[in-house]
């Protein structure tokens, strides 16, 4: 039996009133793949992410995760099945420490979150896992800092750490390099390239260079429709894509 | 239960609902534009009643009493918004808590000025008495309340729908940021709506003084009614306030008549139902 796709979208559409934000999207991402989702502003990329993550319900179509139909599942249940996302606009826990932020991510899918009488410090394994996630993004020295005192770049790194701490199977990265300086963006790219190859990645990225460096496979959205889908070389050479990015 | 009972109770419920409409419509509109729930709204109702009382004691003029009551409290509302609420622009929770502080101050001031005895607003002769229809007798005052509330409701609706000012208010309710961007002076609109809300509440209090009376504690007693109306009807919606107030008026009346010991409980059920099925109310927006 063929191994199921990590993430599969069949005929997924979303309309708001008369507007089709996402139009009959077909997507098949294999386990361990690095896929970039690109397209001009308003192409529907973030909406598509929100549909996959479960923030918005689909108007039509099916979404499966490793063969399981998640189309009707609530956000938190999809996360329990291994689907994690980061946010384009940083969405952290501002008055908590960096370590507590990641701890929340680490304990999210464990029964520890209901534990009411044991002090936090007792959960040594969870804490170790949290610190590992911090180390993976290079923030281990900032563990005790309150998040609102972090720089923007560090906050973007923390976004990734939160996603990693939950041991995801499929990771949706929404513009991880948003607002980063050129140097920070280089660091972010390196970070993304270092990620565990077992994790399936789907990245929205405005910066085409970053997207094409991290991903071997690219899907291009335009007005909610998939207009190109293939290896980065093929997509780079696709005349319609070139027209949209260079011509329009 | 005879047919008479149903007719009379329905009539009473509708008249109470009319009164509630005056109170709740202001609350709903204020929320619509400012996203603030004014917890001093019951206080406006109460103070409107007290001021009307003082004016009618001095001048014996019912219309003047209502006018003065409404305008005076509208001014209080303007002061509250301009001098205090505006300082916390954007912090809705802070603003709401501030209105709580004002509610306490108003309650105590009212006690200080008018004392602890309950009063009833003396009605002009042309509003006293009943209208008979067969064996049934309908108090003229209640009819007056329903007519007045209908006229005001219709005026509000037309104003919101047809006038430029109304369009500005609707725009601000829909999307304050956008409205500001198109050149609508949202802070001024907010102030205007706040004053209007206070005016309507105070008018309600003055009118209510004629059949509910005016007494300490009325402010906090009537506030939950306004809340249930807007929870059921939907915050920010004028049609919601209309439908909600009629529903609440009827339910409360029938509840009191059939289950006197259960008080607010009879409002509990529909509120619970609405919250379960449509958390933003019948006509509400998130």
């Amino acid at each position: 039996m063929a191994e199921p796709h990590a993430l599969r979208l069949e005929g997924v559409s979303k309309w708001f009133g008369g507007l089709r934000a996402v139009d009959s999207v077909e997507l098949a991402v294999r386990p361990g793949e690095r896929r970039a989702l690109i397209g001009p502003n308003g192409a529907g990329k973030t909406t598509l992410f929100n549909l996959i993550a479960g923030v918005l319900p689909v108007s039509a179509g099916r979404i499966t995760l490793f063969g399981d139909d998640v189309t009707r599942l609530a956000q938190h249940r999809r996360a329990a099945l291994g689907l994690t996302r980061t946010f384009q606009i940083t969405n952290l826990f501002p008055s908590l420490t960096v370590l507590d932020n990641v701890r929340l991510a680490a304990q999210a899918l464990t029964p520890a979150k209901f534990s009411m009488l044991r002090p936090l410090g007792r959960f040594t394994e969870l804490e170790a896992g949290a610190r590992r996630a911090l180390a993976a993004v290079g923030l281990e020295d900032r563990a005790a800092t309150t998040v609102r005192h972090l720089s923007h770049g560090e906050q973007r790194q923390l976004e990734i750490a939160l996603a990693l701490a939950g041991k995801p199977r499929v990771l949706l990265l929404d513009e991880p390099a948003a607002g980063l300086s050129h140097a920070e963006a280089r660091l972010m790219t390196a970070l993304l390239q270092r990620l565990d190859p077992a994790i399936t990645l789907l990245i929205i990225e405005h910066d085409m260079d970053i997207a094409l460096e991290v991903a071997q496979h690219v899907t291009v959205l335009h007005y909610g429709k998939v207009i190109a889908d293939g290896t980065r070389e093929a997509v780079k050479a696709d005349p319609m894509v070139r027209e949209i990015y260079l011509g329009a | 239960m005879s047919l008479e009972f149903w007719i009379v109770q329905t009539f009473n419920g509708l008249s109470y609902g009319a009164l509630l409409f005056l109170l709740a419509s202001g609350l709903s509109l204020i929320f619509g534009v400012m996203r603030v729930v004014n917890l001093a709204h019951g206080s406006y109702f109460l103070l409107g009643g007290y001021v009307a009382l003082s004016v009618i004691w001095k001048t014996k003029s019912f219309p003047l009493a209502l006018l003065c009551g409404s305008l005076a409290i509208a001014l209080v509302g303007v002061g509250m918004e301009r001098l205090f609420l505006r300082r916390l622009a954007g912090q809705t929770l802070g603003q709401v808590l501030m209105t709580v502080g004002f509610a306490l101050i108003f309650q105590d001031l009212a006690l200080l000025i008018w004392g602890g005895d309950p009063y009833s607003l003396p009605l002009p002769s042309w509003l006293q008495g009943v209208v008979t229809a067969g064996a049934l007798r309908f108090p003229k005052y209640r009819i007056f309340i329903m007519v007045l509330a209908t006229v005001i409701g219709a005026t509000l609706w037309l104003a919101l729908d047809r006038t430029r000012v109304g369009a500005m208010i609707r725009a601000a309710v829909d999307d304050a940021e956008m409205a500001q961007g198109v050149g609508i002076r949202v802070p001024t609109v907010s102030l205007g709506v706040f004053a209007l809300g206070a005016l309507l509440a105070a008018l309600g209090g003055g009118i209510g003084g004629g059949f509910l009376g005016v007494y300490p504690g009325l402010d906090f007693e009537i506030l939950p009614y306004a809340f249930v109306v807007v929870i059921v009807g939907g915050l920010g919606s004028l049609p919601g306030a209309m439908v909600g107030s009629l529903l609440v008026g009827l339910l409360d009346n029938f509840g009191k008549a059939l289950f006197p010991e259960l008080a607010y409980f009879t409002l509990f059920a529909p509120m619970a139902l609405i919250l379960a099925l449509r958390p933003t109310g019948l006509f509400g927006r998130t």
Binding site: F93, L96 | L39, I105, L112, A263, L275, A276
Partner: protein
Amino acid sequence: MRERRGIVIGLVAVVVAAGVAPLLSAYPLTLLTQAAIVAVLAMSLDVLLGYTGLPSLGHAAYFGVAAYAVGILTTDHQRGFLVCLLVGLGLATLTAAVFGLLAIRATGTYFLMITLALGMVVWGLAFRWVSMTKGDNGIAGVPRPDLGGPWNLTAPLPFFYFVLAGALLAWALLGLLVRSSFGLTLMGIRESESRMRALGYNVWLHKYLAFILSGFFAGFAGVFWAYYNGFVSPVDVQLVTSVETLLMVALGGPGTLAGPALGAALIVFLKNFVSVYTKRWLLILGAVYIGVILFAPRGVLGAFRRER
């Protein structure tokens, strides 16, 4: 660490209170007793407001339900302390469980309105259900608990220690709660519900649990209150009581536990002090409210906090 600071202040306050108590005359001692009970109420609200970020204006409901349970059981049915405690706690928790189902779906202002309305429902029942609650007259003559043994709780000093022990127990349990992973979860919800959902938390469930726990501890305070006051009336469940409780949390510093306890003591002493000179307590309370919101939004404890 800011948590340690809160614990230290609290412990010092408790030790001082316990030590000073035998030296006090009856009136200040009763005030201290009142402060201890109300501190538990304020801390229970802090779990909901300070830690989970849910502003409730109907907290007096659970406090009052428990107090009425004690009132009715002691005067009409001559029940002992244990029964009253269990029934009071049980009813308060049940009320919170039912009300929570209605309120938790809402957030922010909506939540505030719904909890206020629900609190008024309980007040309305206390006021009108005269056959059960004796309405406006209230239930008088609630006796002090008879625990057997050498303790005579009718005297103020033993009763104070009894209350202090209860308050300490509540504080300890609440302290464990907010420092646990569940407590961290609540804080996460306060900071960003959307993130919590994305991480895999069933946010509704955690909020609901917080609501119920909060109601439980409010009920705990309510039980002691009935015994302390000897009298239960609709005043205990009125809106002003919920408003005062919220102010205690806001004044003391939400999200610190010790802060709201301190705020409670402050308000209790202020209220009783002011009442000696003037009847205008509500006016002053309202002014304090507005002052706190305008000038010290993080509360008294927050003013002394330094963030890293």
